[in-house]
């Protein structure tokens, strides 16, 4: 029974009002995050919360891989082992050669009084999760600040440069891929030594920017990091030139490149941690 002076249908805010309130909260969050980067604490919290869940959700896939791996034919394994042994022998020869060269290089540098290059330490990391963000392509790795990672470190796989560490949490970290839009990498062309700037396009491809129209570039040329930015060590393969075209309207060549690293296939990567500069004695 409705009494006089009492609301017959007591109700809270209507949906439109609630929508507006939440929209204001949402927009302020976006502004706070983009403009002031004030929400890194919240990110770390989520990362602590979700880390064990992600680890757990990898198990089904790993079990499936284990099972299929278990039934691999013996013959195949033997063949693979032989191939690996042969490769190892070859690599060992190369390593001996490299040691010799490194020693010689060190002596020459001493003679020329050049600074020795900083040493390098690597951290193995496995791919934990591939992000679904269309604005910057990211991977999540299972190593974080605990393993000595910092933002800005280069990440490579067996074939080439994968990207750069952009966010570090205690137990995981996020890597922005080289093919991500607006991700710039200073490179040089292996064949000619011409330096340039490679940028991601966001479609899993890269382009070499600001190359004058008369530059000597051919499809198939490899691009390596030039090391000029002091972020990436010099000489890491980045991409191969796929297509070179000249446009009427621009003074620069349009150079499409294909990243060498298995950006969407590699499961394990290496993070390169540069040791502090070694001072020459």
């Amino acid at each position: 029974m409705a009494m006089p002076g009492q609301l017959m249908f007591a109700r809270g805010l209507g949906p439109t009002a609630r929508l507006l309130i939440w929209l204001v909260v949402g927009v302020s969050l976006v502004v706070v995050d983009v403009r002031y980067h004030a929400l890194d604490g919240l990110r770390s919290g989520f990362s602590m919360l979700l880390q064990p869940v992600r680890e757990a959700m990898r198990v089904p896939g790993e079990v499936a891989t284990e099972l299929t791996g278990f039934f691999t034919r013996h013959r195949l394994l033997q063949k693979e082992r032989d191939a690996l042994l042969a490769e190892r022998t070859q690599l060992l020869v190369g390593v001996n050669n490299a040691k010799e060269l490194a020693r010689e290089n060190a002596e020459l540098r001493k003679l020329l009084k050049l600074q020795t290059r900083p040493g390098q330490q690597v951290v193995h990391a496995a791919l934990l999760y591939q992000g679904h963000d269309w604005f910057a392509q990211r991977l999540t790795l299972d190593q974080g600040g605990g393993a000595g990672l910092r933002t800005g470190l280069p990440v490579v796989d067996a074939d080439g440069l994968v990207g750069q560490v952009t966010r570090v949490y205690p137990g995981s970290s996020e890597v922005t891929l080289v093919s991500s839009a607006e991700q710039l990498t200073p490179v040089f062309v292996e064949r000619t030594g011409q330096r340039g700037l490679a940028a991601g396009t966001g479609h899993g491809l890269m382009e070499l920017r600001y190359m004058p129209a008369q530059t000597d570039l051919r499809p198939g040329d490899r691009l390596l990091t030039s090391g000029i930015d002091r972020v990436y060590p010099a000489g890491i393969p980045v991409a191969t030139v796929n297509r070179v075209s000249r446009s009427q309207s621009s003074p620069y060549l349009r150079v499409d490149c294909l990243p060498l690293a298995g950006l969407d296939r590699s499961r394990g990567v290496l993070v390169l941690i540069a040791e502090p500069q070694v001072t020459a004695r």
């Binding site: 909260v25 995050d33 929400l39 989520f46 269309w134 839009a181």
Partner: protein
Amino acid sequence: MNVSAQTPGSWRRILGTLALAVLLEQLPWSGWALVVRPDFVLVGVLFWTLHQPARIGFGTAFCLGLLVDFQDGAVFGQHAIAYVIGVYLVLYLRLRLLQFDPHRQAAQMFPILLGVQTVVLLVGWLAVNPPAGLSILIPVLGSTVLWYLVALFVRLWHGKGAQDRA
């Protein structure tokens, strides 16, 4: 009154399905599966908003949106804003949606899901940088199919035919 689609949604069931949605999203998706991966969390939230609007609504949608934002390494608020708008659209069309059989309902949900994804696109565009193409809209198809399957499952679970006898 059409109560056919009202599932007895206990808190346990609601939280269970939402947790399952978050877990499914945590699987290491890659390649094509990642491109068409339905937005499990969004479908879960909208489903419960449709059937249990007193329990699941704007607040839950917003918090789960933040979780998805973290997961994708996106700007905080990007999915949260979009999910909240999705909840509003579902509440607005609720009585209409409840009258349909699964495939018509999924057809009605398609524009809503598309709208939500477009908001994700717009917020990202304004906050970070222009998107790389419209592939961002492909998961909408996956989400619609998922909605259809969920609605069909619920209907069959309650022992009704897949189609309205009309």
